[in-house]
Amino acid sequence: MSFETPADLRYLDSHEWVRTTDSTARIGISEFAQDELGDVVFVELPAEGDELSAGEDFAVVESIKAVSDIYAPVSGTVTAVNETLLDEPELINEDPYGDGWLVEIELTDDSELDDLLDADAYADQIE
């Protein structure tokens, strides 16, 4: 099976993605990751205003069979939280790069983006 890895995103090797618009970054987990987890039934998200540091776990996604820590690909301040997921965590399965996003942050340091994988490199990793 092959999984989508949209070209406009950056990835962590631990399957998180980042989409940047100006200095805002939206974060989620990849299609491969949601498939590995199976049916997502619960999420625990940070609050607006929380500070995330690159490499630290900031959220929890639980499927029926697994509990997963989600790592921040980049550092920043949380400016929005996808609260729809609290009632509809299955959106992570259905639309991991769209409605299944987790949080948006105000980037602290744009240069951290350079440390992430591009779509081709990430696609190679999950092949």
Binding site: S14, H15, A33, E36, V41, E44, E62, I64, A66, L86
Partner: protein, 399 residues
């Protein structure tokens, strides 16, 4: 993302994450006080290729390479609750006991009253050690036409339970033949409200077995044993088919294949025990009274562990397995601590999940007996946070 396995305690599902080396991969904690065969090589059921063809995700369970899920645990669960699904349960052991003292041997081995079974009947029972601690739970079948008895130890326990039968036979000088027939029999469970109808279309006769009945039936030309038993709370049956003819029988039932993931959520909604997790002679040593299956203990029979269990019965167990439903957001999981409102520790969770049917987080937990009253409010510690939970009578579903 780094995943921590939560599905069952031991089996490993495929890990994602960048720090796999940090994950404890204890291959086999399923060590009981009786020896368990080495599980260095994963055993495969005769239906393995069928599951691989359906692109199942596999997991090691009790030394067997079993399908964990096909497309979605949630969908497979719903199929069984609303229609019908089929499970490969060939990882269950089969021990055949026959001869003049077969009933006497099983009476010594198990806590329930085997003598009460007529040919063609089955009962749920426990196998305990001298302390009254459960080594396994099983169905005992008194086979039709007085052919002898069969019981079905949990995955990976077959060798140890066969040896234990041999020990009982020698200890009490019984005249019985014990055979580990685990690889003679494949086993499939057809479960769900539409299971009897599916049976009728496959076997060309009505499904006429009462609950806990077992009889010979011909399925797709194969001579099988069919029992009206299961592990889901739904209507349905389990089929014992000759190992070499398993695929013929399996293919005859045209309904979705379901994996161990759905089997686990289905049994948990019913409050049914999972051997090795809700009890385990080493890691979770429990008597049947603690585990809530006192109905399967007949103290007026003679079995290994009877005297110890009589004492527990008279004093009452100090801890009891209860159902829990979380009120706060969160999912209780194996190993989570249960506390009273004042923060004192009163027990721990053995199984927990998000109930697919109820959409509520549910669990089984051992708690101090004084807190085991339904509706009592307790706390479950989830990732360091105490979450409010309510004690619930099981089953969680009315079935």
């Amino acid at each position: 993302m780094q995943s921590h396995r939560e599905f069952f305690e031991r089996p490993d599902f495929e890990f994602v994450g960048r720090d796999e080396d940090a994950v404890v991969t204890d291959d086999d904690q399923r060590v009981t006080s009786v020896p368990v065969p080495a599980t260095d090589m994963s055993r495969q059921t005769p239906l393995y290729q069928r599951h691989a063809d359906r692109e199942a995700r596999f997991t090691d369970f009790g030394g067997w390479e079993m399908p964990l899920e096909f497309d979605s645990i949630r969908d497979e669960h719903a199929t069984v609750r609303e229609a019908v699904g089929k499970f490969d349960v060939s990882h269950m052991g089969e021990i055949e006991v026959s001869g003049p003292d077969a009933a006497a041997l099983l009476q010594r081995l198990t806590t329930n009253d085997v003598e009460a079974l007529d040919p063609g009947e089955a009962q749920y029972t426990a196998i305990t050690d001298e302390r009254g601690v459960m080594l396994d739970d099983t169905m005992v079948y008194n086979l039709p036409e007085s052919e002898g008895y069969l019981f079905v130890p949990n995955a990976g326990h077959d060798e140890a339970m066969a040896e234990r039968c041999g020990w009982v036979r020698e200890e009490w000088g019984l005249d019985a033949t014990v055979e580990n027939a685990t690889t003679d029999w494949a086993m499939a469970a057809i479960q769900g409200p539409d299971a009897p109808g599916l049976y009728a279309s496959v076997a060309d006769e009505q499904f006429a077995l009462d609950p806990f009945e077992i009889d010979h039936r011909t399925i797709a030309g194969v001579d099988c044993l069919v029992a009206a038993t299961g592990y889901t709370g739904e209507a349905g049956f389990e089929i014992l088919a000759p190992w070499d003819e398993a695929t013929t029988v399996w293919d005859a039932f045209e309904c979705p294949s379901c994996g161990l993931g759905a089997r686990d959520t289905l049994r948990l909604e019913m409050g049914f025990l999972l051997s090795g997790q809700d009890f385990d002679s080493e890691d979770e040593p429990r008597t049947p009274y603690e585990a809530g299956i006192g109905f399967a203990v007949k103290l007026d029979t003679e079995f290994v562990g009877r005297d110890a269990l009589e004492a527990v019965y008279e004093e009452g167990p100090r801890e009891k397995l209860v159902g829990l439903q979380l009120i706060d957001r969160g999912i209780p999981r194996h190993g989570h601590t249960v506390t009273a409102q004042d923060g004192s520790e009163i027990g721990h969770v053995t199984s927990g999940t998000m109930s697919p049917t109820l959409g509520e987080p549910i669990a089984l937990a051992y708690v101090d007996a004084e807190y085991s009253t339904p509706n009592a409010t307790v706390r479950v510690t989830v990732r360091g946070e105490p979450k409010k939970a309510r004690i619930r009578a099981t089953p969680f579903l009315n079935r």
